[in-house]
């Protein structure tokens, strides 16, 4: 199976390591601006994984939207906020920081263990054989030249209702964001 061959190759491990290390750096770095920039590395690593799996459009979107757009917004927001005054008001948690770290590690390794166990327990190749024909017809062809136009066609045809609903959602989120962030008029 092509997928399994891809995720056991050397480039996969390199990219996965990059994104994991950057993600760890983002969490452990006390400086918020630096943490934000480390996040870019993590996102680019994930974008590389998408390229590896032939999902070019998703990879480009990942770079454009997450690595550039969202991280920039986060960094600007951090730089514009004056966190020093607020920091004193934050109450200390009832748990010690050591207990919190232990708890977090425990929970995330539990999630990882459960997910990997469940995914390994399923015979995916049998399912792939069964649904293979449908995947070919319903999904876009990966190496096709008309890859992008197919995505556009699906968005405006098969998935028109979710697509239009997203536009309503974005409109109202814009209204709400302005409402929440605007200065008080006095």
């Amino acid at each position: 199976m092509q997928f399994l061959a891809t995720i056991s190759s050397l480039p996969f491990y390199i990219l996965a390591t990059i994104s994991i290390i950057c993600a760890l750096g983002m969490i452990l770095n006390p400086n918020l601006v630096r943490a934000g920039f480390t996040l870019i590395g993590s996102f680019i690593g994930i974008a590389g994984l998408y390229f590896l799996l032939n999902a070019n459009f998703v990879a480009v979107s990942q770079v454009l939207i997450y690595a550039v757009g969202i991280v920039l917004v986060i960094v600007f927001a951090v730089m514009l906020c004056s966190l020093k005054e607020e920091a004193h008001n934050i109450k200390e948690s009832v748990f010690s920081s050591k207990a919190r770290v232990t708890f977090a590690v425990l929970i995330s390794s539990l999630v990882f263990a459960v997910l990997s166990f469940v995914i390994r327990s399923q015979d995916w190749q049998a399912i792939a054989k069964l649904t293979g024909a449908e995947r070919q017809s319903s999904l876009v062809q990966l190496v096709d030249d008309k890859y992008l136009s197919q995505i556009g066609f699906l968005m405006l045809n098969k998935y028109i209702l979710p697509f239009e609903l997203v536009s309503v959602l974005l409109l109202i989120v814009l209204v709400g964001t302005i409402l929440l962030s605007k200065k008080d008029i006095k």
Binding site: V118, Q122, T131, R135, I160, L165, L180, D184
Partner: protein, 506 residues
């Protein structure tokens, strides 16, 4: 694609969408900021009316590449959602005036209702996800509306974070389902799962994981224990009209999704025990903490939040039985619950407008100030408790428990017994609140109110620009509907709710 059919079926949604745009524009023009609420109320009422009288839903129709299904269930739920939302919008009209920029409340409110309406007829996992997001994100904005208050901001951030986790859980379930079925469409997913099950190709851990993730994500929307921890804080901190929205519309939408997904798409032997556990936990936690809340004289909003967790538990008992009869009585009960809860919260909104408080203690002796509203509030509380004073609540609860009892599920009787014990415990705090209002001496807040009123009258200023208070009107309207239904329409409503479930389409 037949656009005539689409516009005919989605006409209520188009009306609401139009109202969203109109209210946004109106908030720019209208300087007094009074009419957006009335426009929203009118549009929602119109949408409910259109959905009710149109002939759609008599046969199963799928539109827009089966992204939306029009059947009896979606019609019933849409009428319910839009009708109740109209009442809530009316109750909020005056209440939200005390916040800055009150006019933008209603576009957000209408969008949230639109998301809930699409969830009623959801037939594709992508629509399900976007609909839940439309409902959820707008609800977060509604919760954070009184941004000057710290408790509102706190509850909004809590709701945002927990909702994000719930969304992640749901997405993971959807992606696993897509992985095994190569489709997001409900009908295709359902038939593919049946096919895979028949040759026993699905591994047991995978089935358990998908069920658990789906149940968890939906239970978050239903505020069912153990996914309820956000509920009390969010309900307490949010503006009361937003609390009402969360406790009614969000819950109806959650049950709409639950009925569709668990009833028609994804069903296996692990699902019902999970739902039963959640039902039992919700009943226990909701009632236990409700009692503590009334003993410690906490907030009425928190009390109603815990009671709504317990009510979710009763409804989940019927869902866990998953028979046509029990789900039919679930629809009947959720209808009555929505009306009762709207009525109770409308009274709380009115009380808050008058006194600015929502603590249990301040409600003492309200009957000496507003006898009519106190009686209405008491009727709503009696009905939530399941007392046959105005029999609607009692009858609905009776059907809920009796159909669950005889559903044939092995442990259904035990579930019903737990639910019965829970509702007896709940009697205590509902009746205690009613007793406090009717028997006790007026509280300090109410006495203070009197002097304020005297000053206002002597100065000759009118406090209220409306000829009749909207929240009070909502309370009277909903109790009126409750009384009329319980006298004349219980048989009819039961018939309609049973028909709604029999003609469900996949």
């Amino acid at each position: 694609m037949d656009w005539n059919l689409v516009s005919k079926i989605l006409l209520p949604e188009f009306i609401i969408l139009g109202a969203v745009l109109i209210t946004i524009l109106l908030s720019l023009i209208d300087k007094t900021k009074k009419y957006t609420g009335l426009v929203a109320t009118f549009a929602l009422f119109l949408a409910a009316l259109v959905a009710a009288i149109s002939t759609q839903g008599e046969e199963v129709t799928k539109i827009l590449n089966s992204a939306f299904i029009s059947d009896s269930l979606s019609r019933y739920l849409r009428v319910l959602i839009y009708g109740i939302a109209a009442l809530i919008a009316l109750a909020a009209t005056k209440y939200i005036e005390k916040f800055e920029s009150p006019a933008e409340y209603f576009p957000i409110f209408l969008t949230a209702t639109l998301g809930a309406g699409f969830l009623a007829g959801v037939n594709d996992f992508l629509t399900l996800f976007i609909g839940l997001e439309t409902l959820g994100l707008s609800a977060i904005l509604l919760v954070s509306y009184s941004r000057k208050l710290q408790k509102s901001n706190e509850s909004a951030i809590k709701y945002l974070l927990t909702a994000a986790v719930a969304t992640g859980i749901l997405l993971f379930a959807i992606s696993l389902l897509y992985g095994i079925t190569a489709s997001t469409n409900f009908a295709q997913v359902a038939s593919r799962i049946v096919q895979l099950e028949s040759i026993s190709l699905l591994s047991v851990p995978l089935k358990i994981l998908i069920s658990a993730l789906l149940v968890g994500a939906i239970a978050f929307k239903l505020a069912a224990a153990p996914f309820h921890n956000w509920t009390p804080d969010v309900y307490y901190g949010a503006p009361t009209s937003s609390t009402l929205f969360l406790s009614v519309i969000s819950k109806i939408a959650g049950f709409a999704v639950a009925i569709r997904v668990f009833g028609t798409v994804f069903h296996n032997e692990f699902l019902l025990p999970m739902l039963s556990i959640i039902a039992v936990l919700s009943i226990i936690v909701g009632n236990y903490v409700g009692i503590i809340q009334i003993i410690s004289r906490g907030s009425v909003k928190k009390l109603l939040a815990y009671s709504s967790i317990a009510q979710s538990g009763y409804l989940l008992v019927a869902l866990a039985c998953l028979r046509l009869e029990s789900v039919g009585s679930l629809l009947l009960y959720i209808t009555i619950y929505a009306i009762m809860n709207t009525c109770a919260f409308a009274c709380v909104i009115y009380f808050e407008q008058e006194t600015g408080s929502d603590s249990v203690f301040d409600f003492a002796g309200w009957i000496q100030k507003k006898p009519m509203l106190t009686i209405i509030f008491s009727i709503a509380l009696f009905n939530l408790a399941g007392l046959p004073f105005v029999p609607a609540g009692f009858i609905a609860k009776f059907f809920l428990f009796s159909t669950s009892f005889s559903s044939g599920l092995i442990y259904a009787p035990y579930l019903v017994i737990i639910a019965l014990i829970g509702s007896v415990i709940a009697l205590f705090y509902y009746l205690y609140l009613a007793k406090l209002m009717i028997v006790d001496e007026p509280s300090f807040a109410l006495k203070q109110l009197e002097t304020v009123e005297v000053v206002a009258v002597t100065e000759g200023t009118s406090k209220c620009g409306y000829s009749y208070d909207p929240a009070r009107l909502t309370a009277m309207l909903s109790v009126g509907v409750l009384i009329i239904v319980s006298i004349f329409g219980m048989d009819y409503l039961q018939g309609v709710s049973e028909m709604a479930i029999y003609k469900i389409g996949v």
